[in-house]
């Protein structure tokens, strides 16, 4: 049995993952399970039945007080004013120059309380970014230590979780949440996810994580639930064209370039990055994210160059096999005039051009 390196951070379920035989990797400074039974197996479990993920590495930031709305709305791109209590939205935290600090989920807990779920490796930076812009008197709390987070995803997620809570899960709309209990422990139950399937993300106290993890696996046994690692999380989100920080988005990419214009509300009040985005709207973007499918033999992967007519024209942000489609897929940046479906491109794979074609996204959309 290997031990985590001292420098790596661990979730409350670290020992459980090791005991259950997960293969562990260093993920942005966190000692996390990359796979249990295998990425393909876990991927199919989520698409067909249910999968359980430990995503306790994700960060939480709480904004509260009379100025909670003003601060939340002024640091995020989406309109926090559109949120009702019990509703969540996908949003962006931007620098003044319009590039991403992070992509986040904003939950409205009360008129004076917003709960943000942020990326693991960005959480310290995000907290500082928000706190530095607190010209209001809102309270900004770095709340990650108070939460573990589990994601249960797949067509059988609801039936599994329903066994452990009295809340009528079917009545929670997509991107809505309720504060209730799971297995008797206080839990925020959100109908959100990063897989393209129906499912829930639940926020619980760290000391409850192991008990609830086990309860979920037991409850889902009859449906074929599988514990899943970050490997399947990545193939699932890529098929659904969900952005991953450090890949599709980062400090030098704006929401418009990342095809995330829908999370920017220019008709709301001022927010950090708005002026830069207005300028970009006026001048037009130079590059844009687009999906591709390999037509030649090979797999286009993160960081590979993309060629158009023999010239270097862009780069792959995420790429790999799609277990659902049985094709090799990916996302890449291309000059905006060519960032549309049907373009013949070449991906440079170990110095060899391999044919691919741009395609509509998402690659996978579940039947509703």
């Amino acid at each position: 049995m290997t031990q985590p390196t001292a420098a790596l951070k661990a979730t409350p379920l670290n020992a459980v993952h090791r005991r259950m035989g997960a293969k562990m990797v260093d993920f942005g400074g966190w000692d996390m399970p990359v796979q249990y039974s295998g990425i393909l197996d876990e991927h199919q479990a989520v698409r067909k039945n249910a999968g359980l993920f430990d995503v306790s590495h994700m960060g939480e930031i709480e904004i509260s007080g009379p100025d909670a709305f003003a601060l939340t709305d002024s640091v995020t791109t989406n309109a926090a004013a559109n949120l009702k209590i019990g509703q969540a939205q996908y949003s962006g935290l931007l620098y003044e120059h319009g590039g991403f600090v992070d992509d986040i989920l904003v939950h409205k807990v009360a008129d004076d309380h917003y709960f943000l779920c942020v990326n693991a490796s960005n959480q310290d930076k995000d907290y500082e970014h928000i706190a530095a812009q607190n010209r209001h008197s809102a309270k900004v709390e770095f709340a990650s230590p108070r939460y573990a987070q589990l994601a249960i995803q797949g067509p059988k997620a609801l039936a599994t979780l329903q066994k452990l809570t009295r809340t009528d899960l079917a009545s929670i709309g997509y991107y809505h949440f309720v504060d209730d209990a799971v297995s008797g422990a206080t839990a925020r139950i959100a109908r959100t996810g990063y897989t393209g399937e129906d499912g829930f993300e639940i926020y619980i106290a760290p000391e409850q994580a192991e008990r609830i993890w086990n309860a979920m696996l037991n409850a889902g046994q009859e449906f074929g639930i599988k514990p899943c690692g970050l490997g399947a999380r990545n193939t699932l989100r890529l098929e659904s064209k969900m952005a991953l920080y450090g890949h599709e988005i980062h400090a030098s990419i704006t929401p418009y370039e990342a095809d995330l214009g829908w999370i920017v509300k220019m008709n709301k009040g001022d927010f950090t990055g708005k002026a830069a985005l207005a300028k970009q709207q006026e001048q037009g973007i130079a590059r844009k994210l687009v999906g591709f499918e390999m037509t030649g033999r090979g797999i286009g992967r993160d960081g590979y160059e993309v060629y158009l007519g023999g010239e270097a024209a862009g780069w792959v942000t995420s790429g790999g096999p799609s277990p659902t489609l049985n094709k090799n897929i990916g996302l890449c940046y291309l000059p905006v005039s060519r960032a549309k479906p049907g373009e013949r491109i070449d991906i440079m794979i170990r110095n060899q051009p391999v044919e691919a074609v741009t395609v509509p996204t998402p690659f996978y959309k579940r039947a509703k």
Binding site: T2, V34, G38, I39, G231, P321
Partner: protein, 130 residues
Amino acid sequence: MYPTTFRYTKEHEWVRVEGGIGVVGITDHAQKELGDIVYVDLPKPGTRLEQGKTLGSVESVKAVSDIFAPVSGEVVEINEMLSTTPEKLNEDPHGTAWLVKIRLSLPEEVSRLLSAEDYQKYVGAEESGH
């Protein structure tokens, strides 16, 4: 686990020599570390390989790993089966899922590779060492 008639490298390739031809593959340890294998890139027959230099690559869902030639020589045959069923590398890495056959140009290289016992010790140490 590791056949005693094979020789091994620290990069997790194996070679079995039959009458001047080395049959080359990756070890069970390697396939386990890689996870689900989805693509195998092999050299064309006729390619001359040098011991320790890149022979090709194996791709899992997550990543690409180079394979290094355990011996020098000319590729005389590649395992065509792997182009359509790369997952065989997860199932039978020491048997039907061999990668290439190489006509050895320096047969003495083989004796400097690890024995099954030494390789077993090496991966045992690697597995508990980090």
